[in-house]
């Protein structure tokens, strides 16, 4: 005779297991569904030729270039600010009202919806600063958006470094900035890279914040002031206007593969860092 609470526990276990598997099934279904229809669309020709008839035919080369271009601008701008903030929070201050305010700012920024970033980037960069729809305006908007991610991961990485390492540097006569540049940052590098790579992933995946700042021109952007259409925006337009389902599946597949790769690399880097420090 099993007691009633144990029977209840059995039932609960079963229900929770089924619901968790259901969550997992959704993920697997999405990946399988897109892969089954999109993988065969990916050919060198699709990747490296120009789109024709607004994307109905031809390839996606300009969107690949625009995506990389905008993501690079975003990362180059956001990384120094993000890492600098993390260094200030960990190496220069104790917990105080100031650090609480700085952290609140970063946390609150992380919660701002992407369409608001889009509005902001449009009015400040595109209109007021007269950049027009451009790689630069899109990249700067995304830089603001990914800043909290880089701050948080860098801060975690720097905090994970044992204090003894810093003491060794100080005891050898190193100044604070020397200690940071030669001891703290090199040791925290994998963690900082994780943040940067996660930021890259978000930049590639973003649509609402770039469509109103970088535009949707299908030409290959040459300078930083040219407009460009990213892969995610291209996919949105293909799907929404029903231009070509085949090419929409192909672009979706490529987007997912790129982002899975990016996130896996970030995850492995973080895993290596935490293991090494233990």
């Amino acid at each position: 005779m099993i007691s009633r609470p144990l029977v209840v526990q059995r039932v609960v276990w079963l229900v929770l297991a089924v619901l968790t598997l259901f969550t997992l099934a959704i993920l697997i279904f999405i990946l399988a569904f897109i892969s089954a229809r999109g993988a065969r669309v990916i050919t060198p020709e699709f990747l490296f030729s120009l789109p024709e008839r607004m994307g109905k035919e031809g390839g996606i080369l300009p969107t690949l270039i625009a995506t990389i271009y905008i993501a690079v601008v975003a990362i180059v701008v956001a990384t120094p600010f993000g890492v600098g903030t993390a260094v200030y929070l960990t190496e220069y201050t104790r917990e105080s009202a100031l650090t609480r305010i700085i952290r609140f700012g970063a946390d609150a920024l992380a919660g701002v919806p992407s369409i608001i970033f889009g509005l902001f980037g449009f009015i400040l960069f595109v209109i007021r600063l007269k950049m027009g729809w451009s790689i630069l305006a899109g990249g700067l908007t995304l830089a603001v958006m990914i800043l909290p991610t880089i701050i948080r991961t860098s801060e975690e990485a720097i905090r994970a470094i044992p204090y003894q390492l810093r003491e060794v540097s100080y005891s050898l006569g190193g100044t604070r900035s020397q200690t940071i540049m030669r001891v703290v940052l090199p040791n925290a590098l994998p963690g900082i890279l994780t943040g940067v790579i996660l930021g890259l992933g978000r930049s590639v995946a973003e649509t609402a914040a770039v469509i109103f700042t970088a535009g949707s021109s299908l030409r290959i952007p040459r300078t930083i002031l040219d407009p460009g259409r990213t892969m995610a925006v291209h996919f949105y337009i293909l799907a929404r206007e029903g231009l070509s389902m085949e090419r929409a599946y192909g672009t979706a597949f490529l987007l997912i593969v790129v982002i899975l790769l990016i996130n896996t690399v970030a995850y492995l880097l973080m895993f290596r860092l935490t293991r090494r420090l233990k």
């Binding site: 903030t85 509005l119 590639v204 649509t207 949105y236």
Partner: protein, 279 residues
């Protein structure tokens, strides 16, 4: 001397996130507030008529639309997410947690346009065939958003559950409680504020999501009367019309942004305060 300069410089850098936040608020308000003042706040948020090119600026249908899809997302994603959290925290074998957790985090990486697309090609036709109606609906948007908030719910509430001191659990088990009784009467209660915070943050994500909602919600300018009715949210309203709006019309979209910004600010502040309380 040089060290002092570096410290000052870093302080300025460290204020970048906060500064950006203030700048965003400033520009959205500068662009949006004049129209809210001109129309009157009450008419803006309580009038049901939206015809911006003819001078009617009422966003009540969109406010109710956002509310409807968010509540549905919370029921669906919150329920499924908390179930997953409890399973991962207490019942799943260790080795499987190490695989399941990163997999669920992968859900967060999938672009929102892909979720929207899945909604269009799978969910919307299914709803149309099973329940009737156009398929593009509150229900479709709620389910897609529910899936999208799963990683937020699971990650934050799992952290909260894991932060409960082990001694609580041991004490309860030692008194003869089963693991399930311990989980929902002791651990869950101790982690309550973190779990609530995860749900509020998830609500913020659902209210703010744009592209996926545009693709599946149908975007009709009506107050939704049934889960099967098409609906337009605050975010969709902005994104749908930004492409061609000018003058007062454009300002009205920024004003919609002001309302959205205020809602998100309230939700996130509550969530951040709830989480801080825990520490």
């Amino acid at each position: 001397m040089k060290e002092k300069l570096i410290e000052k410089g870093l302080l300025i850098v460290a204020l970048s996130a906060l500064g950006s936040l203030l700048l965003i608020a400033l520009f959205i308000f500068i662009e949006g507030m004049p129209l809210i003042v001109k129309v009157g706040l009450k008419d803006f948020i309580a009038s049901t008529h939206w015809a911006p090119t003819r001078g009617s600026f009422g966003i009540l249908p969109m406010i109710l639309g956002s509310l409807a899809v968010t509540l549905l997302a919370l029921i669906f994603g919150g329920g499924l997410g908390l179930a997953g959290t409890m399973f991962l925290a207490e019942f799943a074998p260790r080795w499987s947690v190490r695989i399941l957790k990163p997999l669920i985090e992968l859900l967060a990486g999938i672009p929102s346009v892909v979720y929207g697309f899945m909604g269009v090609v799978v969910l919307v036709p299914w709803i149309r065939q099973t329940f009737g109606g156009p398929g593009f609906s509150v229900l479709a948007a709620g389910i897609i958003l529910g899936i999208m908030i799963l990683p937020t719910v699971i990650a934050i509430s799992l952290d909260a559950l894991n932060a409960v001191p082990l001694s609580y659990k041991e004490g309860s088990l030692a008194l003869g409680a089963t693991r399930w009784q311990t989980l929902y009467r002791v651990q869950f209660r101790a982690a309550r504020s973190g779990i609530i915070a995860s749900l509020i943050l998830a609500m913020g994500r659902a209210v703010g999501e744009t592209m996926a909602v545009i693709m599946v919600a149908g975007n009709a300018l009506l107050i939704p009367t049934s889960p099967l009715a098409p609906v337009r949210t605050l975010t969709s309203n902005i994104a749908l019309e930004m492409g061609y709006a000018a003058g007062d019309h454009q300002r009205a979209l920024f004003a919609t942004g002001v309302v959205l910004f205020v809602i998100i600010a309230v939700l996130n502040t509550i969530a951040l305060l709830t989480m801080r309380e825990r520490k």
